[in-house]
Symmetry: C2
Subunit: 236 residues, 2 copies
DNA sequence: GAGCGCCATCTTCCATGCAAGCATGAATAT
DNA sequence: ATATTCATGCTTGCATGGAAGATGGCGCTC
């Protein structure tokens, strides 16, 4: 019986009081993100509890949270199902991201100049990192820098609800992202589009910032979705 | 000890199998919405369990869901706190609604004409209802018709994640809505703005539909927020 | 051989018991 | 009178047992 995630370490617990529910939640969330629990996999709470070295209760409560996040589905008296993403789910997720990121960029571009300049610099730095990673053919680093760009874009809007929404759909689509990272190599306009977003923010052009952020996601969607269907991927 | 909500009726249960957790969740959600549980109120799981005629477990699990919805906060070993909305929360909620409803209107306006016509008619019908209610000085009916308009707008976009997001922020701000319904009487441009949204959808003008939906919410926000601060309402 | 029904088993659901932490207030010392 | 300390009660966190339900296999019947 292999342990899925880290369990309460009784020796060095000097940092923070985390409940077993939090442990179980993080462990399962991670396991789902990196496909240790693949979609379609059906687990039982008892089994997971054994792996994590705890009783069924905290696992059960963590599952409730994961269900709220849309990551699992609990089939009454059948077990826990790791949900798969359909093309329709992808369409939904993209529209949510387009809406939220567009508004976030718009809001940032309406902030005072000092903050705009600072944010634009941070965004440009991450874009620089993407360029550097591309030169090194370092795909993981490229993906991380791209993620960091979009995370920074949301965080700078200072809207915890927007952050949470994006976090949720990111969790849902994380597996897809890992997959698509390998598909689209080279043919990507992300860098120029990121520049346009940062520049619009720098100059305080709200409408253009919103449009740039939206078009960036729309273009990425229109490139990816046909690719997936051509590969015959019906769910993941 | 007064019962807060309906409890499992053992006699007529011919409709659907609802778990006790669902019962507890709905009962508490309703109690929070209609201020039976006012913000700042601190309850204990045992107390709520007694009121609902069940044990602590389903209440505890329902509380986890409500916490995910941002309606309550559980203070470890102190109790359950009904969260209050700060002006900053209001700002966040409005921006989420502006983003989502704007995109929803944009998407609907991009649908085939038959569906657009149908949706526009439904929206106009609800706006008619608002006008009629205003003539009768029937404020609750006006509020219901307005809610129905916005619910229809979201539902027609056929995006379950958007629906869920809106549902969540609606739950959070429901008390505020009930309050503001009484504040702004007469001085409201909602009807004309609703017409413009419906008309943009009817003609398939995506950009204008998005703008109309966004401006409608922005205008409402800019009217309401100063009103609240002038009344000295720091939280609710 | 095919189909039907029953039973064993595995699952979640819920109740309850125990433990641990924190706040409150009383009681005592200064 | 005031401050401090300690005990008590109330809270959630977690474990565990029993119950209800669903499913799959196995045996029986035709």
């Amino acid at each position: 019986m292999k342990r899925v995630g880290p369990v309460r370490n009784s020796v060095e617990e000097g940092e923070r009081k985390k409940s077993l529910v939090d442990d179980a939640y993080e462990a399962m969330r991670t396991a789902i993100r990196d496909s240790t629990f693949a979609p379609g996999y059906q687990a039982s709470e008892q089994e997971i509890a054994n792996r994590l070295g705890m009783s069924r209760t905290p696992v059960h409560e963590a599952v409730i949270r994961l269900q709220g996040d849309g990551l699992v589905e609990v089939l009454p008296r059948k077990g826990i199902l790791i949900v798969a993403l359909s093309p329709d789910d992808l369409r939904e997720i993209y529209d949510v991201v387009i809406a939220i990121e567009g508004r976030a960029a718009e809001l940032i571009a309406a902030l005072p100049q000092a903050e705009r300049t600072n944010t634009a610099k941070v965004l440009d730095d991450w874009t620089d990192e993407m360029v550097a990673a591309e030169k090194r053919n370092d795909l993981p680093a490229w993906g991380n820098a791209d993620s960091a760009f979009h995370t920074a874009l949301i965080e700078r809007a200072r809207n915890s609800r927007m952050s949470r929404i994006i976090q949720t759909v990111n969790d849902q689509s994380h597996r897809l992202r890992m997959l698509t990272l390998n598909l689209r190599r080279g043919l990507d306009a992300s860098v120029e589009e990121h520049r346009r977003i940062a520049q619009s923010i720098r100059f305080g052009h709200s409408a253009e910032a919103s449009d740039a952020a939206r078009q960036h996601r729309i273009r990425a969607r229109d490139e990816l979705l046909p690719l997936l269907t051509s590969y015959g991927l019906k769910h993941l």
